[in-house]
């Protein structure tokens, strides 16, 4: 058959590589900065835009979607062309994808510090950006499928399956989790409330980790590891099994983020069972990676690329063993809301994603510039600094996590909490946080060795913009279909393959969510639970804007240690008007579900002005701007209308006079503050926030009093 000449597009790979490395530096710098703020709260310099609550999402988004995201695209664009023996379908679409993605990142970098956020973890971006993400993501998918369809290679290599599953699943996740009703150009409320919102969010959150941080990277592993080791993958059979069981199982495991929460028990158990089962495919993949190097371990010693890949795969194995363990209810009872979770995700992020990225970069850049790596020695030093960085990061955080849990749960022989003041537990772990930031600093410093080494490598070579290649064209007629070869058949039909992947991932999601949506009895309603007043609603949006949820949970679990500390445990029915839910995932500060009525208005006023006035040693940032900024009440009517269309039972036309109620309530609070000597003004933002905080968890108290 005649051989066709064509070329691979390296230009687009180069662009994504540069963006990835650039945002790695930015994302990790922000990470280091907020790690320091956790023990030096003054480090926000009194500027609201760089306060912890607002820039923590900037760190997570930058690392996940900018650093890792751009590297995924770089790796896919490099490997997909080569295993398909075809140039990317459309160069213009590639460019649209690239620039579109960077604009989204830019929009995130501007909007998050401004406090424009949905507050849902890893899905903080507001609805206009959500739409941009959907468009750019679909462009990427079209380009990928176009390339697969016009490929010259009969079969789709396993890496490509992982890419397809990534595309399909992330599309579903993004759409389902972003169904929200705009209440303004940069403000929206999710259609889900409370428990349902939590379930959807953690179905998303868990699977964002699975299908954005894991499956694409597994695809990259299946391509770049054999390339770097110059030997085929250990078992192709195992990779097929790995793929199908992984994508089938992963989607079920989301509820393990909500153990002991107000989520129905059966859904929690389902999450646990499937999480434990996930060990099998994950470790199958890890072993497949390690065994690919069988007989080649000697080359790991002097090949920095392989070193990075090996540690990455080891971190994958550790994280995927730890994950299922953390989803056991008795382990989760200890680990949840503590720094243990932070340690766990960083084994994944720094170890698996970071190390695999660095390995791929050290391999790919010399290839694309037609040269050798500038300095192997420097890459080796980078490897050791990075490895040490991970250890210095993770060990103190595990320690801190266990310390927190033990102190939170410790009772004296008399049966009262040994550490009733939450602050004690925070101060105890500060030295560990100091060591953690040192680990982060090491990892961050290593990044500069990578940047320098890669720039030097590029300078000594010449960039091959279009890499010449040749291959025979592939036609379906030229291929005789063998009997019993279902997968061959499937592989030749990428669109059907994608559909099957969609079905496989949908089963888990549907089984979990449909019952919760269908059955009223899953969320018992509580008569005394009433919608927020307009002022409380505005206050809640300030709570969301400032990212309070980054450090404060609103979920009291049914443990004696928690009910003693915070009060009655949380009921599903209490959250029916919470669009969005604000349960949080970490307690750097205490839970706030029952904070309403616990302190005076004056206490909150002074505490928000400077937390150390009320709690000496507190690491909470100051919020002086809340005292001076005027509350924007022009948004009240549209917010009320949006809530009404979401089913919150405000009276008809309430939006027209909601602001009257708002002013009345604000005046009452202000009066109380003035009577107690605070120079409060009724139109300031702090009044709304105090109103919201004083409301939190009180509906149930009303209920109990009425019951008596």
């Amino acid at each position: 058959m005649e051989v066709e000449k064509f070329s691979y597009d390296n230009q687009i790979v180069k662009q994504f590589v540069i963006a990835s490395v650039l945002f790695a530096v930015v994302g990790m710098l922000v990470g280091l900065f907020i790690a320091l703020q956790l023990y030096i709260p003054e480090l926000n310099f009194g500027i609201q835009y760089i306060t912890f609550g607002r820039i923590r999402p900037l760190h997570t988004n930058a690392v996940i979607f900018a650093f890792v995201g751009n590297l995924i695209f770089a790796g896919i664009y490099y490997s997909l062309q080569r295993v398909c023996k075809a140039r990317m379908w459309n160069d213009k679409l590639s460019q649209f994808h690239f620039w579109g993605w960077q604009i989204i990142i830019l929009a995130a970098a501007v909007s998050l510090p401004l406090g424009i956020t949905t507050s849902k973890e890893y899905a903080e971006l507001e609805w206009p950006i959500d739409i941009m993400i959907a468009i750019v993501w679909l462009a990427f998918g079209a380009n990928m499928f176009g390339t697969i369809i016009k490929r010259r290679e009969k079969h789709m290599y396993v890496a490509v399956w992982f890419y397809i599953a990534t595309f399909v699943t992330v599309t579903v996740l993004h759409v389902v989790n972003s169904i929200e009703l705009p209440a303004g150009i940069l403000k929206s409320y999710p259609v889900y409330a409370g428990v349902q919102d939590a379930l959807v969010q953690w179905w998303y959150g868990h699977n964002a980790v699975a299908f954005f941080l894991t499956t694409p990277y597994l695809g990259l592993m299946y391509y770049f590891l054999p390339k770097a080791a110059n030997r085929p993958v250990y078992s192709y059979r195992l990779s097929i099994l790995h793929f199908w069981s992984l994508i089938f199982l992963y989607i079920w495991a989301g509820p393990h983020h909500l153990l002991y929460s107000a989520l129905p028990d059966w859904a929690q158990s389902l999450g646990t069972v499937f999480s434990v089962m996930l060990i099998a495919p994950s470790w199958g993949g890890m072993l497949n990676g390690f065994l690919t190097l069988r007989g080649a371990w000697d080359s790991v010693r002097d090949n920095p690329v392989l070193k990075f890949l090996v540690v990455a795969i080891a971190a994958y194995g550790m994280a995927t063993f730890e994950g299922p363990m953390l989803s056991l209810k008795n382990v989760n009872a200890i680990s949840h809301f503590t720094d243990w979770t932070i340690a766990h995700v960083h084994i994944g992020a720094l170890g698996w994603n970071g190390m695999l990225s660095f390995g791929i970069l050290y391999w790919m850049i010399p290839k694309m510039w037609g040269t050798k790596l500038y300095s192997k020695k420097m890459a080796n030093i980078h490897f050791w600094i990075t490895t040490l960085g991970i250890i210095f990061y993770a060990v103190p955080m595990y320690w801190a996590g266990v310390t927190q849990a033990l102190m939170w749960k410790q009772f004296t022989p008399l049966g009262v909490l040994q550490y009733p003041n939450f602050l004690e537990t925070t101060l105890e772990i500060i030295p560990l946080h100091v060591i953690r930031s040192f680990g982060g600093l090491l990892y961050f410093a290593g990044l500069f060795l990578l940047v320098y080494n890669l720039i030097k490598t590029a300078k000594q070579g010449r960039f091959i913009k279009n890499e010449e290649a040749e291959a025979a064209p592939y036609t379906i007629e030229a291929d005789k279909l063998k009997r019993g070869m279902i997968h061959h058949w499937l592989e030749k039909r990428p669109v059907k393959f994608a559909l099957l992947s969609l079905i496989v991932i949908s089963i888990g999601g549907l089984v979990e969510m449909v019952p919760t949506f269908l059955i009223k009895s899953n969320i018992p309603t509580i008569a005394s639970v009433k919608p927020f007043t307009p002022l409380e609603l505005q206050g809640r949006d300030i709570y969301i804007r400032e990212g309070c949820v980054s450090c404060h949970s609103q979920l009291v679990r049914p443990f004696r240690s928690e009910t003693e500390r915070y009060g009655e445990y949380s009921k599903a029915g209490e959250y029916v008007y919470d669009h969005p839910f604000l349960w949080g995932s970490k307690r750097t500060g205490p839970d706030l579900q029952r904070v309403g009525g616990k302190y005076s208005n004056l206490w909150h006023y002074l505490h928000l002005e400077d937390p150390r006035q009320m709690s000496p040693g507190s690491i909470m940032p100051r919020y002086p701007w809340l005292l001076t900024q005027t509350l924007d009440t022009s948004t009240t009517p549209s917010k009320i209308r949006t809530m009404r269309s979401l089913g919150v039972p405000y009276e008809k036309d309430y939006d027209k006079y909601a602001n009257q109620d708002l002013i009345k309530q604000a005046n009452t609070i202000t009066e109380d503050l003035i009577n107690n000597g605070a120079p409060a003004e009724p139109d300031k933002e702090i009044i709304a926030l105090i109103a919201y905080l004083q409301r939190l968890g009180t509906d149930i108290k009303v209920n109990q009093e009425a019951g008596k």
């Binding site: 051989v3 490997s79 080569r82 295993v83 290679e153 079969h155 290599y157 396993v158 890496a159 259609v191 889900y192 409330a193 349902q196 391509y223 054999p226 390339k227 110059n230 030997r231 085929p232 192709y236 059979r237 097929i240 099994l241 199908w244 069981s245 089938f248 199982l249 079920w252 129905p264 059966w266 158990s269 389902l270 069972v273 499937f274 089962m277 007989g295 290839k367 890499e467 010449e468 290649a469 040749e470 291959a471 063998k482 019993g484 070869m485 997968h487 061959h488 888990g508 089984v511 019952p515 919760t516 949506f517 269908l518 059955i519 009223k520 899953n522 969320i523 029916v576 979401l646 089913g647």
Partner: protein, 75 residues
Amino acid sequence: MLSEHFSKIEGVGIFPVISLIVFFLFFVVTIVWVFRLDKKYLSRMENLPLESSLENNPTGVSSHNNSEMKDEVNQ
């Protein structure tokens, strides 16, 4: 709220059981199918990334024969 538009369904406890059975069947079918795969196909796929780039072999023809590799390892 969405749930208000639907009515109650019975026997929610069966959901996890069904799920487990569905996955188990899925897994068994996948295993059977994986082991019935053609060896030639597997070997071709294993070597696909290694042959597809010109930097390894400018002719575009595979120089990595799987059985050779295995022999190397055994030695």
